[in-house]
Symmetry: C2
Subunit: 438 residues, 2 copies
């Protein structure tokens, strides 16, 4: 039996999980791939920290550079995260003819196109199933299982931290800041949470999925991103009353005018499947012209789920290695020479329904004034709720409106006009309503 020799960069949470997995299920791989997986070297700057792991017998080093150039390594597993020094290490590994398996979404979303090019030239695999939705095999589903389909839409919940926060806010009727704090204490959110709660992590993953789905070069910069900091428990409460839940969605759609690529909080029907995805779970819905909707669900992060995806990629490489082949499946499903950028639809041209919550002075004539703004911008109103009068005329009352389908340009313009009215007391809250399939 042949051996696939693995070098691991980064012994953090996921790295520890990979070591544990290789040790626990080693026999399985031999039965499933006719190949022995051997972890020959581990690089980490901190070799002292106790990880609850017996590291005797491993070749440990602080020199990652030596691993990516070592002649006795077939596959480099990059679990350092971030751009520096991961980017350079991955590139060096590929240039040295090594396959790379990574869970690094930021790296792939931002520099994936260049790295794919290097991998392509050197005939190496660059595998990143673990970069999107953790244990959920959505990359393989898109690249292989759905290869017969023209994909026209993807939407999903790709960040467990945000989904946990929104779930807690709904279930316990607590404000964002308080839930974030307890999420940080429980280790569900980072000390600096902005990557997660500002939607950037979700957008990284969407950049990867949309390139594979639509056969476009990877382009993180064309995604519109809005996070969940501005979502209040009040809006979550209103959503509930109106039959919706608020989720941070990643959405990619192909239409006649181009691609919609957007990450933002959205109201979805509370009886939809995506609304049922709560807590730290991830879910991706994919619509293809023949498959219809398929959905993939599971844990999007954590030591063991992410290790499952990383080692799944290694087994895939091993199964190629047995036959002496590499790059059986094009890295973005479509072969590099056929990748074509598609025009991206501006958020201004987005068509949909909108939820708006205003704080208005409780006086006669105010509703007429506000209605007139919507009329001027050709927005028609589907539902309107005004809460019972406040005891004092000076305390504003909430006015909640849902529009019929309109474009975001009109909504933005109307919001600007509304802000200028004396009777509107706070910056209006607005959340898109997304009509999801299934």
């Amino acid at each position: 039996m042949d051996t696939l020799r693995i070098g691991l960069l980064g012994l953090g949470t996921v790295g520890t999980g990979v070591v544990r997995l290789l040790r626990t299920n080693g026999v399985l791989f031999e039965e499933r791939s006719d190949m022995r997986l051997r972890l020959v070297r581990i690089a980490d700057l901190d070799l002292q920290r106790d990880r609850g792991l017996d590291l005797r017998g491993f070749d440990l080093t602080q020199d990652a550079q030596a691993v990516v150039t070592a002649p006795d390594i077939d596959v480099v597993v990059e679990l350092i995260g971030g751009i520096k020094p991961a980017r350079e290490l991955v590139e060096t590994a590929l240039r040295n003819g090594k396959h790379v398996v990574t869970a690094n979404k930021a790296l792939i979303a931002r520099f994936g196109q260049d790295l794919l090019h290097v991998a392509e030239k050197r005939g190496c695999e660059l595998a990143f199933e673990a970069a999107v939705a953790g244990a959920v095999p959505v990359i393989k589903a898109l690249r292989e299982s759905l290869a017969a389909n023209q994909i026209d839409q993807i939407h999903g919940i790709l960040n467990g931290t945000c989904n946990y926060i929104l779930t807690e806010m709904r279930e316990k009727a607590l404000p964002f800041a308080q839930v974030l704090k307890s999420a940080q204490e429980m280790g569900y959110a980072e000390a600096d949470p902005s990557f997660d709660v500002d939607g950037i992590d979700t957008a990284h993953k969407l950049a990867i999925l949309s390139a594979i789905a639509f056969g476009t070069p990877m382009d993180f910069s064309s995604i519109s991103v809005e996070g969940i900091r501005h979502v209040t428990e009040v809006d979550i409460g209103w959503a509930k009353r109106m039959g919706y839940r608020i989720k941070l969605l990643a959405i990619a759609k192909r239409g006649i005018s181009g691609l919609e690529l957007r990450v933002h909080p959205a109201m979805v029907a509370s009886d939809s499947m995506v609304a049922a995805v709560d807590g730290v779970f991830n879910a991706v819905f994919i619509h293809g012209d023949f498959a219809g909707t398929t959905m993939y669900f599971g844990r999007g992060a954590g030591e063991k789920p992410t290790a499952s995806a990383v080692v799944g990629d290694i087994v895939d490489i091993a199964r190629n290695h047995v036959f002496g082949i590499r790059r059986r499946v094009p890295l973005l499903s479509t072969q590099a020479e056929y990748l074509r950028p598609l025009p991206v639809v501006s958020m201004d041209d987005l068509v949909g329904e909108y939820y708006l919550r205003l704080a208005v002075v409780d006086q006669s004539g105010v509703l007429a004034e506000i209605s007139d703004v919507f009329r001027r911008h050709a927005i028609s109103i589907k539902t309107i709720h005004q809460e019972g009068r406040s005891s004092q005329a000076s305390v504003p009352v909430p006015l909640v409106l849902v529009t019929h389908e309109t474009t975001e340009r009109h909504v933005r313009a109307a919001l600007r006009d509304l802000e200028g009215l004396g009777s509107v007391r706070e910056k209006p809250h607005f959340i898109r309503i997304e009509r999801v399939f299934t």
Copy 2:
């Protein structure tokens, strides 16, 4: 660019879908596999029927035997269904060195082990993603994406007809027979529905999944099968009141005493993900030691979804063909020489909670009499509901009980004793309560 030459057996619903798909998305495959897919021959006994499909340009024949032996065919797509003559045709195709792609669950579940052996010996692919859950890529997920995991549990909804019937019964509070009739009129159920409603189709699919999941030879005969004919709208109503939904579940679990392999209606918590899978959809939940729970959802049948899976398998074969390799992934994930049968747990030894509904005479002393039966069989009762007295003492009233955890052996014995009581007027209804993960 090289060409993969396809012979299609059976131009029914799915066959028509495959022809349409190959025609619609032909360019995609070339971009995705560096291989042209060409449908060179179609065999069907009925070449006259109008399928709304332009068949000019195809080589049509009534002689399936000629297709499976033809020297100009690389891949045979078997969409005839059933055992005869599909079994012989598939075997002949494999013996002639052709890859086979099939959607035939009965064939794979019952004779898959023999056919895999032939495929193995001849170095051919035998691909059957379409045989389980239609467009949902659960075979690939198990064989490849989750290859790093020890799988310990699968449960799922694998038959859209049953799920549609149970959903309609719940939503419209209608009896089984009436919903079945309208499902037949709408084409959701066959004229002879027994394969579906008696659980056999679900069991075929479970046989396939469990072999892959647990590394055992395929063994349909060891699955305990119970269908949905005996589920009444009354029980569905009781389930609802108690916070459950009734689903026909396929369940495979590996425990210390062996495998549980069973198909039966089960009550599941109404806020679980599996309870949310309604109508004709399929869903499979898989629990692995590292991945945790992942779930796969979509359309389990129909022209286009099944065609998506069939052609997905063809693309997979094409991507191997480009490199001149075959059988990259062992057909049951584990290589043939490592497949090992595992002991199967008898249904008598099943441990769980049970829902029981009795029709009892409304007289003093009856409850004591019934309670005594449970006491004798060491079954403790978790909840008990008795409906308001009937106006006449001779008309029986419903008595609904939920047991604490016990073994099915005890429940069966208690039911026999209960049937013997004068105060119990009908054969008791019993439904297993399944505690599902997530």
